[in-house]
């Protein structure tokens, strides 16, 4: 039997990713806007978008090990979409922070990025995700040639920075960030040879 996914399967898988990612965000912003997202909707939105972005990025990193195990190479076709949505959530996260937390005090944004290590780290990860997003299409891939892969290996650094940003942002209960770090380390361990090579 030839294992694999038809075009149709891929179409529906992508449709599902669009539906969940967009639908969940719309629903959550609607609830925040109508004061149904807990006592402090601003905090609620920051948590939702931050965790959402991290979840999507981890899903993105699951794809290549998944392809290896399942030998279904077509899964590769949804990886870019997951990556783009990870950045989309990170964009919402930063935009919500600027609009609702800082209420457009740009001066404060700059000083927080410089002064607060966990914001510095989050911002660095955000810049990496931005660069990966801007170079995620076929044209950029062709233009960058071998450098494209080099650039996109930065995703591992971004994931590590986000884990650090997360654990640094919580007050004392680090259980959940530790679980996330565990998952990330597991995903990275599948690529340990590649990562060791990058290190050297």
């Amino acid at each position: 039997m030839v294992r694999g996914l038809s075009r149709r399967n891929i179409f529906w898988l992508k449709a599902l990713i669009h539906l969940l990612s967009l639908g969940w965000a719309l629903l959550t912003y609607y609830r925040a806007g109508t004061d149904q997202l807990g006592g402090d909707p601003v905090e609620g939105i920051l948590h939702f978008t931050g965790i959402g972005a991290f979840n999507l990025l981890l899903l993105c990193l699951i794809i290549s090990p998944l392809v290896r195990w399942s030998r279904i190479s077509q899964f590769m076709q949804v990886r870019r979409l997951l990556g783009l949505y990870a950045f989309f959530y990170a964009l919402l996260h930063l935009a919500s922070y600027i609009l609702f937390e800082l209420q457009l005090e740009w001066q404060l944004l700059l000083s927080e990025i410089v002064k607060r290590p966990y914001i510095t780290v989050g911002f660095s990860a955000w810049i990496i995700l931005l660069a990966l997003t801007l170079t995620s299409n076929k044209a950029a891939q062709r233009r960058l040639g071998r450098n494209w892969q080099k650039l996109h290996n930065w995703v591992y650094l971004a994931a590590g920075l986000i884990a650090l940003h997360y654990i640094w942002s919580v007050k004392s209960d680090i259980t959940q960030p530790l679980v996330y770090i565990g998952v990330l380390l597991l995903l990275l361990s599948f690529r340990k040879d590649k990562l060791l090579k990058l290190w050297r």
């Binding site: 937390e101 607060r116 007050k171 004392s172």
Partner: protein, 331 residues
């Protein structure tokens, strides 16, 4: 997208309505008397958004008799937010956990022991908590160390009234407080993963002159009724010029002592949380700014209020307690 950015205390319709409903309800309660009022409240609660089905236990509060606070211009934080957005790690570390997990909390019988370096130690039962002194309403700002704040109508009495009854000895320099330790009732205490890594019981402390300051308050109620479990029933401290974590909940012991007592958050991270923990916009938390705060009132994402934080949370009358002290060093 239209972002509202209120720069001052512009009254918004929904917020005024909130206040109005509260006042009307109070008026009605007074007219109907105790029993009728209880029924009214029960039906009011049942009609609100509730996570609990009818068969789930629900923590019981009762209507209190007290001297009302004077009219004031600050917009109150709605009762639903005061009672659903809580830091009470004994019941879980998410803001919504205490409300979800504290409904079966037993507060009657209760024992509050007042002892240590005092002439007349004593113990208060649940009923006695409400009778130690005439109850009064105080509308205080509460500033959390996480940079959000509320305005809450508390009901209770001065901490000083309780201390006067115990009569501290001159050797008493500090007052130490302790929360109930009961892992069977408090899931955060029996599971290190749910309690935020805190070494329970939660303990707090004040210098004795801070404790004796007329603003220091023991609350037994809010919004006209006895305290909900998630807000620290049956009795909690409210020190409005200090960060919220100083205002210890569900107190079982108040001791006058001669040395600065250990305090929970200071034990957990001394470089982030000091003994004094006075609200101070100039002294940042190492990980975030304390210069401003988000005032939690009515309204969703688009009506969020960011305001300047005031030294001592705006309660300037306490400044003399700290004259000559370096507030940066004694954060």
């Amino acid at each position: 997208m239209l972002i509202k950015r209120p720069t001052s205390w512009t009254l918004k319709d929904n917020q005024v309505t909130d206040e109005k409903i509260y006042q009307q309800r109070r008026h009605l309660l007074k007219q109907m008397g105790f029993i009728g009022a209880g029924a009214l409240l029960a039906s009011h609660q049942a009609s609100g958004i509730s996570l609990f089905g009818d068969d789930e236990p629900r923590f019981k509060t009762h209507v209190l008799d007290y001297a009302e606070a004077q009219q004031q211009s600050q917009i109150l934080t709605p009762e639903t937010k005061v009672t659903s957005h809580n830091n009470f790690y004994e019941f879980g570390t998410d803001k919504s956990d205490p409300k979800a997990n504290a409904q079966a909390f037993q507060v009657d019988p209760w024992q509050l022991r007042v002892d240590g370096l005092v002439e007349t130690p004593f113990t208060l039962s649940f009923d006695e908590l409400f009778k130690l002194a005439p109850l009064q309403e105080r509308i205080y700002r509460l500033r959390c160390v996480e940079a959000w704040s509320m305005v809450i109508p508390w009901i209770g009495f001065s901490l000083n009234a309780l201390l006067n009854k115990a009569r501290p000895l001159s050797s008493g320099k500090y007052v130490a407080f302790e929360t109930l330790y009961d892992p069977k009732q408090m899931p955060g205490q029996n599971n290190p993963f749910r309690g935020g890594g805190i070494d329970y019981p939660y303990v707090e402390g004040l210098r004795i002159d801070e404790a004796a300051h007329p603003l220091s308050f023991l609350a037994v109620g809010l919004y006209g009724k006895s305290l909900p479990a998630q807000n620290g029933a049956p009795i909690r401290l409210v020190v409005p010029w200090k960060y919220g974590f100083k205002s210890i909940k569900s107190i079982v012991r108040i001791s006058v002592v001669d040395k600065q007592p250990p305090t929970t958050w200071n034990l957990l991270a001394a470089q982030e949380y000091g003994f004094y923990a006075n609200v101070n916009p100039k002294v940042d938390h190492p990980r975030w700014s304390q210069a401003r705060e988000r005032r939690i009132t009515t309204g969703g994402l688009f009506s969020s209020n960011r305001i300047d934080t005031q030294l001592f949370n705006g309660y300037d009358e306490v400044a003399s307690l700290y004259s000559g002290m370096d507030l940066r060093q004694h954060y």
